[in-house]
């Protein structure tokens, strides 16, 4: 029980820590997408 619970909990919190400590990716602008900008009417 302890191995399973501690193992899963540690993995989860390690991941969250890793996510929070690495910088956010910058957004790249692509060539026009292959679809219509259908939301323009909204």
């Amino acid at each position: 029980m302890l191995i399973s619970v501690i193992g899963m909990t540690s993995l989860f919190f390690w991941c969250i820590r890793k996510v929070l400590t690495t910088p956010e990716a910058s957004e790249h602008v692509h060539s026009p997408a292959d679809i219509d900008p259908h939301d323009q009417e909204d």
């Binding site: 989860f12 991941c15 969250i16 259908h38």
Partner: protein, 584 residues
Amino acid sequence: MAKEKWASKLGVILAVTGSAVGLGNFLRFPGVACANGGGAFMIPYIIAFIILGLPIAWVEWAMGRYGGKRGYCSAPGIFRAITGKNRTAQIGTLALIIPVVIYMYYVSIEAWCLGYAVKYWTGGMKQVVAEAQQQVTPVPVPESATTQEKEQAHDLFLTKQKDAGVKATQNYLLSFAGVVPESDEAGSGNLRILREFSQSTMPYLLFCFVINFYLIYRGINKGIEWFCRWAMPALLGCALLILIRVLTLGTPDPLNPDASILNGLGFMWNPVGHNLVDGKLVEVGFIEALSNPQTWLAAAGQIFFSLSVGFGIIMTYASYTKDDDDIALSSVSAASGNGFFEVALGGMIIIPAAFVFLGPEMIISAGEKASSLSLGFFALPGVFENMPAGHFFGGLFFFLLFMAAITSSLSMLQPAIAFLEEGLGLGRHAAVTLLGLITAIGALFVSLISNGLTVLDHMDFWTANFCIFLLATTEVIFFAWIMGLDRGLEELAHGAEIKLPKALPFVLKYVTPSFLLIIFGSWLYKEVLSNGPYVKALREDPTVQITVGFLISIFIFFSILVRIAVKRWDQTERTRTENKELAS
């Protein structure tokens, strides 16, 4: 308007974790683990997590972002973008109908969870208990009886009253969900079902529909991500409160010292399985449990359903990530988040509490059926009826289930919304309205033609079992053998801070597809080819035939929509190429 994006990495992880964390984490996992070796179940569970769950999740994340970079967020568009061939778009039809059909019945269960939480917190459940207890008549005692005999009769009366209360809460779903026997004397047939349904479940169902579609209408960032950012911590808070309550139960009945929380934890986690043989509990040893193929199949099935892989949802969610996001880490984070809710919280709450108040036979019976509904709505109300402050914690538990369900149901709508927008060129208003109409018809179909829980059960079997197996197997083979591992793994590794395992190409190409084919094959053999109960019902029961006919109609409808979308995409691309040629 530009394609939507997640605002942050944490946002997408919470959304994907929210999508995966559902009723299965708190109800299905503990029951299945208990019935398949207890603590020993964790060995196949972790192996399945590594060679099945994570690889399929990585496949969906990589395919999703690959399509997203090319402007596609729906599965048909993503499959088409990967191969450049129109016919592959039809594979994506499965990824549209699976979440939409599951939503049709899942939203009903979500409404039940909310309804139960409200009933517990507003005293409605107390009233149900009181009404049942009032019908218990005192045991007649002759005037000549001794004081001791009178006390015994009174104790018997109290026990009967308590049992009546417990039974009333355990059977409450039958009236709350509008599912009553057709021959019930208070009314008959579907009219009775409609009346009960409109009085009890309908307001909650309407509320769930409104909240789901409102959040979907607000979009990826302002709707789903915003909601998951506070819903997931709230879910964690509720689960921790209930966990503390359960772990501090001790031995509630001093006359029954074996029914203690420590023994309950032992029953769940000791590496000894349990089986019911002729209604009696029989222990299954560690080696015996591990050498049983059923244990491995159950573990693989649990990982599979729990991580929401094979639904097509992750693919759509991943298409909204930024180009340089670490999707490999996001995938592991979401999968481990799901595992945390399942193992560290789900595995510590239900079984120990049910062991203390209901006994082990009831748990194994529900676990063998892998029945979340049976454990959650028929067994657990009995636990809360016996537990100190049970009505508060009952409300909290069902509210927790409601939160877990709503983060999942939201994710079921997004793939179809993305498709209606990009495939048919509909605006958000029109897409939400059309999908709302389709899912409302489905939800009413589930609720009104319920005939027990037949429709819900058979929809779940054919969609959440058969179609998911089919889609996941197709996805993995498609990724490894058609898209190509070089292209797929390059997408996965792009922006990754964590190192992908060196064995991953081998696992993805051979191990995961083989494992999936074995599981899918065994499942097909057991459930379909051996004339299992669901196939038998399909041959004999008209309600089941209508249900399967309904599913086929939905598949054909979406398949036609995909065909229209492909033509539209073709036309757009041709126009764009012509414009480029003219410009040059």
